[in-house]
Symmetry: C2
Subunit: 428 residues, 2 copies
């Protein structure tokens, strides 16, 4: 891998990225025929290499941390950049867990005979080459690489430039492991330039890259989605809703609302809005108001909400769209299920919504009509997660409707092709 | 529906398309909760309306045909534009067949309990609003509308401007049928302006349109894919290959090659390239050469091919990429399976490829390693078709890897959301 100086002309970055893409495409062909064992062995070998390289990883990370401090990165970014011993442990454990998951590749399903005599079905195959664009979190390098490798995809990883030393140290571990496992070194490549033009190239090489997975803030993801000439599997942040129906069980409503909001504030499956049927508002709102207040959660309510919760501030229109990622919740008293569905389909980010109700018909309507990637009855929105859903791993949560929707596990990194068995069959 | 004059300013087209999009989004909400019976009744009502409107359909079509002749449309385009009585019959039959298909919507699958106690699975749901952009073929209007309606999607149809009168006559039938079935008239809308700016608007309204399906020539599809801000389900044309392996049964190889090439010349699943293992070239090429010659098929061969078929012209590099859609075939003698896979993955349009062999291991490798939407063993490439695969209907063939790949039936017009059943479950 060649280093490109920061003065590199645009053409140099383009030529470099083209060579990276070309090598990835070739590696993806080899990966498509690599056995389950070869791919799992490579994952375990990366784990071993990381374990043996704690010194050099720490040293590379110290360079990034020092440069980050010098350039005035804030505390949260520095925290994400740091490669602590326990984070290295977590990367190693993660690799072993991914190696132990069932292989999604090669699964043949739905084979059936047609009247013509041919037998038709589907075979699960890798997507090919996946480009991952993410911020300065070195542990994402290993996590993303492992899921792509497991699913038989070649990967081009473009992490934040602040983490370049750490990522290159990780890249050395990965290269050594791939070599020892007999896999093409280009099966996992880390973009070795801090030049931002590299991202522009990566997302406009449809001949070499099959899918882009951007991970990071909303701004990054929106920019990449707008400019990409390659399909993007997005996981955006979430404005998730809990709707407490007139027939809710109050105990469940309290537990689910409180857990959905307060279990963690910074996650995309945290509830940001609470809708309450007017018929149950008087019974429910004072109780949940008290619990949320005790937990330090600020309530921004509609006029009716503020009648029951005089301490609440007034919600503005913008609050219904807001993903706070903070101890704040928007609360609205509504006239019933129709308004709840209408409100959610209008303001939600289509991530996760939950109805609390004992009413069969309304539960069924909510499930059918709410247009979000996860729709729940009597459960906390915090369950919207690849591990909780049993996917074994998660590369993110997709709020798009095509291909993968909701938590995206290994299957989301695959495609299916049709396969046909004949015995000399021709079409009449 | 308002008519926009041809002098309409860009803003007028934009405002008009926004209103179309907004109405489609609202209609899609109603369709998402419409019962199976309502949607099927609407399909049957459209069939009835078309049957009762043969006069007005013919009259509208005569206007389009006359204008087409005046503006010098070529014979092939005029043929596609014409709405003959038998084409109207075919549209009516098609609607009844789609109504009789199983409903894809609402299917719940893979519900399983997780260690936390929640029960998680998937529900099949419509995509929402589908924009269809196609050329001047009025029968496509009915076909596309019926598949979208069946799968619970609202549709915005933008046909070629040469067919506008015919399409508006069809639109009247559809509107009357929707009204009589209690569905929102905006469930199917036909863009009522010949202004080409309408296409530009349609593909850049992600708030109102979930997917674009372009149907037509490669140029149209490439342009739309490039400019669209909405995901595109593409069906491009095909450069399909037949590979005759060293262990091919000669009788099967002859039948499959001949059928794949000559059954129909103008279809995307027609074979355009033939690869022959050198070990079987001497036995196979003279025989297939004779049959193809008798059928009037021109052969463009590599040097080795021309040793066995002296009449063949010399293939140029461009021939390996070519989709002839004509009685021409490119023929290459190759060294074996590795070269076959390499050649196909390099030159193919990733549509459909077939190996003819009795060899188990090579059949298996071909299936696994050829990166196309349909991969076959001992069967004609002409089988790559939604009806032949048992999908019941086909909106096109996707050569993309995300979402729908290969023949796209009703399922390709749907998405799946996760559903979660709890009983007050919260995350610990």
């Amino acid at each position: 891998m060649t280093t490109v100086s920061s003065e590199a002309a645009q053409q140099d970055v383009q030529a470099y990225m083209q060579s990276v893409g070309k090598a990835a495409r070739a590696a993806s062909r080899q990966l498509a025929r690599a056995s389950t064992k070869m791919r799992n062995d490579a994952l375990l070998a990366i784990a071993e290499q990381l374990g043996n390289s704690r010194e050099s990883l720490a040293e590379a990370n110290r360079l990034d941390m020092a440069a980050g401090r010098d350039s005035g990165l804030d505390a949260a970014l520095l925290d994400r950049l740091e490669l602590t011993p326990s984070r290295i442990d977590a990367m190693i454990t993660g690799l072993r867990e991914v190696a132990a998951l069932p292989d999604p590749i090669g699964e043949i399903s739905d084979m059936s005979y047609r009247p013509s005599g041919i037998q038709v079905g589907k075979m699960r195959v890798p997507l090919g080459v996946i480009g991952i664009i993410y911020e300065s979190r070195p542990n994402v390098t290993v996590e993303a690489a492992s899921l792509c490798l497991k699913s038989g995809n070649a990967t081009i990883l473009r992490g934040g430039s602040e983490a370049l030393h750490s990522n290159l140290a990780i890249a050395e571990c990965i290269s050594a492991a791939l070599a020892s496992s007999g896999l093409d070194a280009a099966a996992v490549q880390i973009v070795n330039t801090a030049d931002r033009a590299a991202v522009g190239e990566l997302i406009t090489m449809p001949d070499y890259v099959d899918v882009i997975v951007p991970r990071g803030g909303k701004g990054l993801i929106e920019r990449i989605s707008r400019d990409s000439k390659v399909p993007v599997i997005k996981h955006l942040d979430g404005n998730c809703h809990v709707y407490v129906d007139a027939d809710a069980d109050l105990t469940k409503a309290l537990a689910i609302t409180f857990n959905s909001k307060t279990h963690r504030y910074g996650t995309c499956n945290t509830a940001e809005s609470l809708l309450v049927d007017a018929a149950i508002a008087e019974a429910f709102l004072p109780q949940i108001g008290e619990r949320l207040k005790a937990a330090g959660v600020e309530i921004r309510g509609c006029d009716q909400t503020r009648r029951y919760l005089p301490d609440a501030s007034a919600a503005a229109e913008a609050d219904w769209f807001e993903e706070y990622l903070a101890p704040i919740i928007a609360v609205k008293v509504i006239s019933g299920l129709d308004e709840a569905i209408e409100h959610i389909n209008t303001y939600s980010s289509h991530h996760t919504e939950s109805i609390v109700t004992e009413n069969y018909t309304r539960a069924r309507r909510f499930l059918t009509e709410v247009d979000s990637s996860s729709v729940m009855v009597n459960a906390s929105t915090r369950f919207a997660d690849g591990f909780e859903y049993g996917l074994g791993a998660e590369i993110g949560i997709s709020t798009d409707k095509l291909h993968a929707r909701g938590p995206v596990g290994l299957q989301g990194l695959t495609s299916q092709k049709y396969i046909v068995f004949g015995d000399g069959h021709i079409r009449g």
